[in-house]
């Protein structure tokens, strides 16, 4: 019955839930979905993480490569992110070259990483002007159920945190490169950026802010891609992006900033716990 009602009156169906202060999946407005995180699950990648925020699943793997730095920035390494949204993750996507949405989301993710300065690209340089690491961070979304950027950032940061770079010795005279995969040093990650997505839904009398929206909620609030994304790194903001959907009144904005602060703490704990567990396993 409910399914038919949803099909016939999609707006009213959603309205009925929202006006009763509850969301269609039973969550409260500001309740986030559970986060499940697993690191180093891919054995073929140097570092990896699988994250599930509710149904949204993102796998991130990091591959390493050596290259010579750019001439204009001789002491900088590279961090290349790539996000794939295959047809598998939602019926919205067609197989083929990366969609606009994938490109935009990838740009957002890499922007957040760059802006938060959590990775110093100078750390990736081995010998200035000669040799530097290239970090290929490939993210694949297996199931897109909204708040994609949040999941991508968690997956990416957890993989970066588990990444251990092999020692490289470079002979300046013979230009010989020697990689020793047995002695590894962990990559320095400064801070921990966390993204929190919001959607704004317009009821006639007021605006409702929904935290961590599912894809259905995102659509009801005006199109794929969350309406409002706040990224905080420790106590600093490193990106607040808002596009599309309903407009955001100042009160909701305050609310969003507060929620994102709390959420950042939660996510931080999740990542820390997961990494600690991972270390224990490695030691055993």
């Amino acid at each position: 019955m409910a399914e038919i009602y949803k099909l016939i009156h999609p707006l009213k169906y959603f309205n009925d839930y929202i006006s009763r202060e509850i969301r269609p999946d039973g969550r409260k407005f500001h309740e986030c979905r559970n986060i499940k995180l697993n690191v180093n699950s891919l054995k073929t990648a140097e570092a990896s993480a699988v994250v599930k925020c509710g149904n949204t699943t993102v796998v991130c793997g990091i591959q390493l490569e050596l290259a010579s730095p750019k001439a204009e920035e001789p002491d900088f390494g590279y961090l290349v992110t790539n996000l794939e949204l295959p047809a598998l993750c939602s019926s919205k996507y067609r197989p083929g070259p990366p969609s606009d949405h994938a490109q935009v989301t990838n740009y957002l993710v890499s922007n957040i990483i760059v802006n938060s300065k959590c990775i110093d690209l100078k750390d990736l340089c081995i010998v200035p002007d000669k040799l530097a690491w290239v970090l290929y961070c490939d993210m694949v979304c297996l199931d897109n159920d909204g708040s994609l950027v949040d999941a991508c950032i968690i997956a990416l940061i957890s993989s970066l945190k588990t990444l251990r770079l092999p020692t490289v010795t470079y002979d300046a005279e013979t230009e010989d490169i020697n990689v020793d995969p047995d002695i590894r040093t962990p990559l320095k990650v400064y801070g921990l950026p966390v993204a929190t997505s919001f959607s704004v839904y317009k009821l006639p009398e007021r605006d409702i802010l929904i935290t961590d929206p599912s894809i259905y909620e995102e659509e009801m609030c005006g199109g794929i891609g969350s309406n409002f994304i706040v990224c905080s790194n420790q106590s600093l903001l490193c990106g607040t992006q808002k596009f599309g959907g309903s407009n955001l009144p100042p009160e909701s904005q305050e609310e969003a900033l507060k929620i994102s602060r709390d959420r950042a703490n939660v996510v931080e704990k999740v990542i820390e716990t997961c990494l600690a567990n991972n270390c224990e396993i490695n030691e055993i």
Partner: protein, 220 residues
Amino acid sequence: MGIEEEKPKAFQLKPMKCEFNFLSKSDGSAILSQGDTVAVVSVNGPLDIKSTSQSIEKSTLEVLYCTKGGKPSVADRYKENVIRQTCEAAVLGSLYPRTGITVTIQELEDFGGLLSCCLNCTCLALLNSGVSMRCTYAAITCAIDESGDIVLEPSKQHLDTARATMTFVFDSREKNLVTSVTEGVFSEDTYKEALARCHAASDLVFNFYREIIRKYANVI
């Protein structure tokens, strides 16, 4: 029929100049300069589009952003997305189902604040094209410099040294935030202050829109 408008005020914004119908063959077009930053926008539509991208509920907006260099990049896709989502919030697409509205933006000069110039110019071109809109919108860029001060409408030099840049778009009805794009790191308080400053400055842009429409209203 070039009509020009300068805007020196206590609350200083760069002088804005705008000309409608800059392109004769498109349904609506505008050229806007904010200081030395210049962009041209042409709007075509509502017109027929291929059936795969048609929507039965509303018109499909297509935004094409052309840089001066002409080489498309992922950053341009992102800009297109920002502009498209902003326009979608403003245009009453439900009045033109199964049609497409094409917005083409050409960058002419970039001396800082290009994104907000493009957004404002798009709004003017949409006004000129006669497409029904829910509201107008105004975009303002600001930068946070090294010492943490907020600079409205920063110049290229400011942008190069700035800690963070932010672009905010406000709607004309409730003056709420439509779009925000930020780069760099900043504290929450700075963010709020920048938002408030830009919010106040957006009124000047709306006044400018009204002035332009007033000048053109005499001839229609």
